[in-house]
């Protein structure tokens, strides 16, 4: 009887895991941490718990605000005691499909990534051991260890999915899903503007690292980006391609939030990025007309979809 009940539970779980239109049905997860509704629920509770920060004022959700497509509206992240980070809070949409994490890809698994903001002095500033002690004292959770904390938070993050946008409906065959101007923007996106060279696939990112020059100021990089991870010269000033899903909903842009609007971003690319010794070879002047820029903005709006989280 117990075995039968377990089978029913598994079947129900499989049905619940329907993903939004435009995303793969297969949601990658490591064998050591398969998806489960229980872990997702626990991870969700932890994601919103301010106990995880030193002064008990910050939760993961403080910066990764569900109301703002799981990012915030600040150029760079803010942490406890008014501390300021160096990079923009990334929108953690569809990260289940990601290959590396953080702007520089310094984490190779979500289980590794989710713990780092807790101990980062510029973010939540609490040793993970102390966080576990605090959480276990609350009585709100089952006995937690570091592995369980990481697995639960990572599982929850894997359930944060964005899809079913007008673009997804168009790609699925609904020819009326995009307006005429959005369609023109899509053609530019894939053609003359070359956006699709890096913003590719269901999640509109190649998961690779590119130097577009945003970190280059006064003849030097303000942030070495991927170079800090690989030590390769060619990676200086390179940052991971972010998803464009729901991007129109959450300015500002780029790894340092230095571009306030989508118009600014398009202008940046139209000018071929900011010249520097390691500028990505894909970067070149685009010579877009004002009408073409407008069409691209319209198309980017068509990437706003439905965000769902949890199982």
């Amino acid at each position: 009887m117990r075995c039968f009940a377990l089978l029913l539970c598994t079947a129900a779980f499989a049905d619940e895991r329907k993903v939004p239109l435009g995303l793969d049905a297969y949601i990658p997860a490591p064998e050591s941490n398969p998806l489960s509704p229980e872990k997702a629920a626990l991870g969700r509770a932890l994601f919103f718990d301010t106990t995880l920060s030193r002064d008990r004022t910050f939760a993961c959700a403080t910066c990764h605000d569900p109301a703002r497509a799981f990012t915030d509206d600040k150029p760079v992240s803010k942490g406890v005691s008014g501390r300021t980070g160096t990079r923009r809070t990334p929108a953690i949409l569809n990260r289940a499909y990601g290959k590396s994490f953080f702007w520089d890809g310094s984490a190779t698994a979500l289980e590794e990534q989710v713990l780092k903001p807790i101990s980062n002095p510029l973010e939540m500033d609490l040793a993970v051991e102390d966080a576990l002690s605090r959480l276990n004292e609350t009585g709100r959770y089952p006995a937690l260890d570091q592995a369980t904390l990481a697995a639960s938070l990572a599982t929850y993050v894997r359930t944060i999915l964005s899809g079913d946008s007008p673009y997804d409906r168009y790609v699925a065959g609904d020819r009326s899903a995009l307006t005429t101007e959005q369609l023109a923007g899509l053609r530019l996106f894939r053609g003359k503007a070359g956006c699709g060279s890096c913003h590719v696939g269901p999640n509109l990112t190649d998961e690779r690292f590119h130097n577009t020059g945003t970190g280059w100021r006064d003849g030097r990089f303000t942030d070495q980006g991927r170079f800090a991870v690989t030590g390769l010269e060619e990676d200086r000033g390179a940052f991971k391609t972010p998803t464009l899903r729901d991007a129109a909903r959450h300015p500002p842009y780029m790894h340092d939030g230095s571009l306030a609007t989508i118009d600014d971003v398009i202008r940046h690319y139209d000018e071929g990025g900011k010249p520097n010794p390691f500028l990505d070879p894909e970067m070149r002047r685009l010579n877009l007309t004002s009408e073409e820029k407008s069409a691209l903005v319209e198309f980017l709006g068509a990437l706003n979809g439905t965000i769902r989280e949890g199982l």
């Binding site: 499989a14 895991r17 995303l23 793969d24 049905a25 297969y26 949601i27 990658p28 064998e31 398969p34 290959k99 168009y170 790609v171 699925a172 065959g173 894939r190 053609g191 699709g196 060279s197 590719v200 696939g201 269901p202 998961e207 690779r208």
Partner: protein, 427 residues
């Protein structure tokens, strides 16, 4: 033998059938159909012949390749290739045509996918990791809940086929140095042992399937085209004698006649243009170098007038079709025309007489693009004459890309169903 589709000659209709797979009960055939709108759709026909029905049709997923039926005959494992150069492993409902995308890959699509006999698993080959050039085998659960790497090695492992009883997966591999048939035991979607050689030294073979009697059937590509240099009697066109200089296709002389370049295969890749490299041979000292430009597909090459560059038609390593310049000394590759709408094989192109521009055809029109400024203009011209549609080239021969070039004019063939030769004044 009976014919399932009948649409007339290629001159009467440009539509045609492509990949196909037969249902487990033998009653239905699912196949790709290149339709009149210029993209592939998934169709199904009775194996007895008769009318067909469209199961899936979406221009955004412009290429479809049905590869296997689920054992219960309810789903068709189908590869999609989208306009944005994303390939997708999908299952299509054999009745409703409803589609479920299981997994997206980049433009390097699986060479083969197959269902396990119990229908729970799907095996496919794909690049081992981002940026890798060798393939491994993966098993994805049909309910999309899990995936496992089933074979991992630096070798090229591809064309997986599940055994009839489900305990083994057969595949082609070049491990050991030569292409052979290998098998790996599997249990519950995971490897249950190391791969074992079934038969080695099979050459350029392509596993296709396993019969009901348990026999593997495969396609074998024998022989390789040779590059030969010979002398032809101008009057009689008779070949007076020739000698072999290499293996490959598409030989092109440099304008001074001192070098010959052609396309050849590289690596263990068995089929396809992805494997091509460029051989440049000096006809003076017989030295030879192999260029491996950063291109996924090279379909044609043309020498620049100064002999410093080759104009290559094809796609780069992100599957962006167009025309590329390849430095004859270093292999450095620079895009000349790059277009998301361009076919994999790139555009038909030719150098201008002074080498400062390229002339190419796109969408039935001819354009000239400056190499320095990238400025482009449409080139107009006059139709010289119509080709005779009944003209047939010898087996294995490819139509010439550029029929004539005399300095100020360039000749092109335009159109497939009714080819025309255009002569265009570049001035």
């Amino acid at each position: 033998m009976r014919r399932i589709t009948q649409k007339g000659s290629r001159y009467a209709s440009k539509e045609f059938a492509y990949f196909s797979t037969i249902s487990p009960d033998g009653a239905t055939i699912a196949y790709a159909w290149y339709n009149k709108d210029g993209f592939y759709e998934l169709r199904a026909s009775s194996s007895a012949g008769g009318s067909s029905r469209v199961l899936f049709s979406n221009e955004e997923a412009g290429f479809v390749q049905p590869t296997a039926w689920s054992p219960d005959g309810k789903q068709i494992l189908t590869l999609l290739f989208r306009k944005d150069n994303v390939s997708q492993i999908t299952v299509v409902n054999a009745e409703s045509g409803g589609i479920r995308v299981l997994k997206s890959l980049n433009w390097v699509y699986p060479k083969k996918m197959d269902f396990s006999p119990d229908g729970r698993w799907i095996v496919y080959d794909s690049f081992a990791r981002d940026g890798a050039s060798d393939r491994d085998l993966f098993v994805l659960s049909a309910d999309s809940s899990q995936e496992h790497r089933i074979v991992e090695s630096p070798a090229e492992d591809s064309f997986p086929i599940w055994s009839r009883e489900g305990s083994r997966i057969y595949f082609a591999s070049d491990r050991g140095g030569v292409m052979g048939l290998w098998a790996v035991a599997v249990a519950d979607g995971r490897p249950a042992g190391e791969p074992q050689l079934v038969r080695g030294g099979l050459g350029r073979f392509l596993p296709m399937g396993i019969t009901a009697a348990g026999e593997l059937y495969y396609c074998l590509r024998e022989g390789s085209p040779e590059i030969r240099v010979g002398f032809i009697d101008r009057d009689t066109r008779e070949v007076l004698g020739s000698g072999r200089v290499g293996e490959g296709v598409g030989p092109q002389w440099s304008s001074d006649g001192a070098h010959l370049a052609w396309l050849t295969r590289r690596g263990a890749e068995n089929f396809g243009e992805e494997s091509r490299a460029i051989v440049v041979r000096s006809m003076v000292d017989r030295s030879q170098q192999v260029l491996t430009p950063k291109m996924a597909v090279i379909s044609r090459i043309r020498w620049s007038p100064d002999g410093q560059w080759l104009l290559a038609s094809g796609s780069d390593d992100k599957a962006r079709g167009g025309l590329y310049r390849v430095d004859v000394r270093s292999g450095r590759t620079i895009p000349v025309v790059q277009d998301a709408e361009a076919p994999f094989r790139g555009y038909e192109g030719e150098w201008s007489d002074d080498g400062s521009a390229v002339v190419y055809q796109r969408g039935g029109k001819v354009y000239q693009r400056s190499l320095e400024s990238a400025e482009e203009r449409e080139v107009t011209g006059q139709v010289l004459r119509d080709c005779d549609p009944d003209v047939r080239l010898p087996d294995g021969a490819e139509p010439p890309a550029s029929l004539h070039r005399d300095g100020r004019t360039v000749a092109f063939t335009l159109g497939r169903t009714r080819p025309e030769i255009w002569v265009l004044d570049l001035e």
